[in-house]
């Protein structure tokens, strides 16, 4: 589904951050990308989702047989790439529900599916709300405006559930969550594991992986993937800290 080859990227005005990433993600898989601060984890998510401010200097990214880097950010989204933001953005005055319906219908049009009317949409929404233990009042508020940290993260996963992406990138979805919120969010993500969907989680901590079990774990350091393995790699890291990368990262 996703084939990243020798990906180099830098800030448009600044230094190189990704220095040759190779990663292959198949449908149905869950990958975890771990690594210390400043290793390039969030940059990878930004580059894959098409966030402005980055420049790819070398390498290629193929997504479902297409050159991903040639697509605009909104086209990537409609092609099924979803980014759960580390810091979801507030949009004052725009009703959360209206926003989500606009997003969903943009994607459905792209897929050649009929748009959902308000009634159908509400029905679909209610089912997902329950799963994520989100109150309906959240829908009537401005997008992320005045949401608590936990509400923002739950709202991201709720949007993911509604948009049904092919490839979900979760950028530090566990940060800022207490243990109850983490449990709810993880449940929401696990419910969306599917044979035709890949999930790439970016996280500092092994803690998240207790709740969402990955098939593969990669360690990013200095802009490169320096180690890959199964879930046990995360446990090792937890035990020894990123210091164990010492040799590998050098």
């Amino acid at each position: 589904m996703l084939e990243i080859k020798n990906l180099h990227a830098k800030l448009t005005e600044g230094r190189e951050i990704l220095k040759g990433i190779d990663l292959s993600v198949k449908a149905g898989e869950v990958h975890a990308i771990m690594g210390p601060n400043g290793s390039g984890k969030s940059t990878l998510a930004s580059v894959l989702s098409g966030k402005p401010g980055y420049e790819v200097t070398e390498g290629s990214v193929t997504y479902q047989g297409k050159d991903l880097l040639a697509l605009a950010a909104d086209e990537r989204a409609r092609e099924g790439i979803f980014l759960a933001f580390q810091y979801p953005v507030e949009i004052p005055g725009v009703n959360n529900m209206y926003f989500l319906r606009a997003a969903l219908n943009a994607t459905r049009r792209h897929r050649g599916q009929p748009e959902l009317d308000a009634g159908q949409f509400l029905k679909a929404v209610r089912a997902k709300l329950k799963e994520l233990e989100i109150g309906e009042d959240l829908l009537q508020r401005g997008v992320n405006v005045g949401f608590s940290g936990g509400e923002k993260k739950r709202n991201e996963i709720f949007q993911m559930a509604m948009l049904e992406p092919k490839l979900a990138l979760l950028d530090e979805t566990d940060s800022g969550l207490d243990i109850d919120a983490l449990r709810v969010v993880s449940k929401g993500v696990n419910a969306q594991r599917a044979p035709d969907r890949a999930i790439v989680m970016i996280t500092h901590y092994q803690r998240l992986l207790d709740y969402i079990e990955p098939d593969h774990v990669h360690v990013l350091s200095g802009g490169k993937i320096v180690m890959s393995g199964d879930k046990s790699l995360a446990t090792e890291l937890e035990k020894h800290g990123y210091a164990m990368l010492g040799d590998a990262a050098a």
Binding site: A73, D74, G93, V94, E115
Partner: protein, 482 residues
């Protein structure tokens, strides 16, 4: 709210075709040659078969205007206007008596504009007093309104049929010599609308007027007068579109509202006159004087405006809160894109006890647009316990535009409470990216964010107007993000 694909459609249709409403109807105009003197005023008055008192009123205005100077205090950069180069009268030759007599081409024009003049009017529940090139050509639903004693007609007809009412209220809120543009309008106004709602009557439909500037070089000088008697209620809609023109066109309208005891007037405007092209060429000059008087106790006047068009906007819909417990409201969205300039706001004059006013202004600047909020809140000595709340928000798109807020607050009564809040923000790349990451195109994302910013004002508009306004916001900002 409108579906985002609608706005996208609108944006697309603009991209390909330039200004969507930029077509010109071919109607033989009966225009005056350019020039302005007392004879021009006499010609207009005679052409309209006006009584002597109105001619005298016009001439008095003209004499005052001659001694006045065009105001310079607004933050507007205006090339000198040659008032002798404009023509001051143009009208379709034969005034039709019913809708059946209306020129089919004219009806087609309205059709293109989406104006519900025929059956669509009935469906929408809207009576339309359509002003085309200064002369009203059709008025619908008059019968229905007449049953309730409501008068809704062209200004000219009001002068003929209801001279006492017109004479009583004309100039009672905006006197002839009020300001340069109001004086000009008073001298040469061609037509406009008149509405009168008798005591205790609640007007069952939105009254609406569509203005349209058509003939080249003919300035538009509309005159609107609304009177709501004791306990009456009326909601009035005004919407404007104009065909594309290569030279500047002058517009100086006057709107007067009178709300007596316990009466309420809600006046909503969506204005999308031709703003000029992307280089700042052409576009309408819009100098408008709008003022309402809450003349009796507990009267209420509410202005809502969405200003997206015109090269230059000079407009301050105001409220004179004369009675006790009166309420004045001003809700405004003003957009300037490309080279548009807007200096707009309101005046809330508190004269009565416990009078209260609310001002919500949303200014959006894009391209090289300059947007100024200018507002006056004045509390006079007798206005015990007067209250005002003002909120001015500015949104900037890009880094070549400007937003300015100029509040004037004059309080002469120590019991008054006046609040003013102002914010300036920029549409952030993060907001745009967040929307795009959810699958919305950049244009839709922008439209969504801007509509959110304007929500407090848009929700004050009647439903059908709100939809049109949202589309307009998207259209007006086309091309403003890279």
């Amino acid at each position: 709210m409108t579906a985002p694909d609608d706005s996208l459609e609108t944006v697309r249709s603009i991209t390909g075709e330039g200004y969507k409403y930029g077509f010109v109807t071919d109607i033989e105009s009966d225009s005056l040659p350019p020039g302005l003197n007392e004879d021009t005023v006499r010609f207009i008055s005679a052409k309209k078969q006006e009584p002597q008192w109105l001619l005298d009123w016009r001439l008095e205005a003209f004499r005052q205007w001659q001694k006045m100077e065009s105001p310079e205090w607004a933050k507007l950069n205006i090339a000198p206007i040659d008032y002798q180069a404009a023509s001051y009268y143009s009208a379709p030759k034969q005034g039709p008596k019913s809708i059946d007599e209306v020129d089919p081409e004219l009806l087609k024009t309205y059709e293109k504009l989406g104006i519900p003049l025929s059956e669509r009017a009935a469906l929408a529940g809207v009576a339309v007093d359509a002003v085309f090139d200064s002369v009203s050509v059709a008025t619908t639903f008059k019968g229905k309104l007449a049953e309730l004693g409501i008068i809704f007609c062209s200004f000219g007809e009001a002068v003929r049929e209801h001279p006492d009412l017109v004479r009583k209220y004309l100039g009672s809120v905006v006197p002839q010599g009020d300001n340069f543009f109001a004086a000009l309008n008073s001298a040469v106004f061609s037509d406009g609308s008149f509405a009168y709602v008798p005591p205790g009557v609640r007007c069952p439909m939105e009254l609406s007027t569509y203005f349209r500037i058509n003939a080249a070089k003919s300035g538009q000088f509309e005159r609107t007068l609304l009177v709501a008697e004791k306990g009456a209620y009326v909601s009035y809609l005004e919407g404007c579109t104009a065909p594309q023109r290569d030279e500047n066109q002058l517009h100086a309208a006057v709107v007067e509202l009178v709300a007596l005891e316990d009466a309420e007037i809600k006046y909503s405007t969506v204005q999308n006159w031709y703003p000029g092209d992307a280089e700042g060429k052409g576009g309408i000059y819009n100098f408008v004087t709008k003022r309402g008087a809450c003349r009796g106790n507990r009267a209420k006047i509410s202005w809502t405006q969405v200003e997206t068009g015109s090269a230059i906007t000079w407009k301050y819909p105001s409220c004179l809160l004369e009675g006790d417990d009166t309420v004045g409201e001003f809700y405004s969205v003003a957009i300037t894109n490309n080279f548009q300039q807007a200096d707009t706001g309101t005046k809330m004059i508190h004269l009565g006890r416990n009078s209260s006013s609310t001002i919500i202004s949303k200014g959006i600047s894009a391209g090289r647009g300059q947007n100024t909020y200018r507002g006056l809140v004045r509390v006079q000595p007798k206005a015990q316990n007067a209250r005002n709340y003002t909120q001015c928000d500015s949104l900037l798109i890009g880094d070549r535009c400007g937003a300015h807020t100029v509040p004037y607050i004059e309080v002469r009564n120590p019991s008054a409470r006046v609040e003013h809040e102002a914010t300036t923000s920029k549409i952030s790349d993060d907001q745009l990216f967040y929307c795009q990451q959810r699958g919305l195109s950049k244009e839709d994302a922008l439209s969504l964010i801007v509509n959110g910013f304007c929500r407090e004002v848009l929700k004050e508009l009647p439903m059908e107007f709100a939809v049109e306004a949202q589309k307009l916001l998207a259209v007006s900002l086309e091309g403003s993000v890279g």
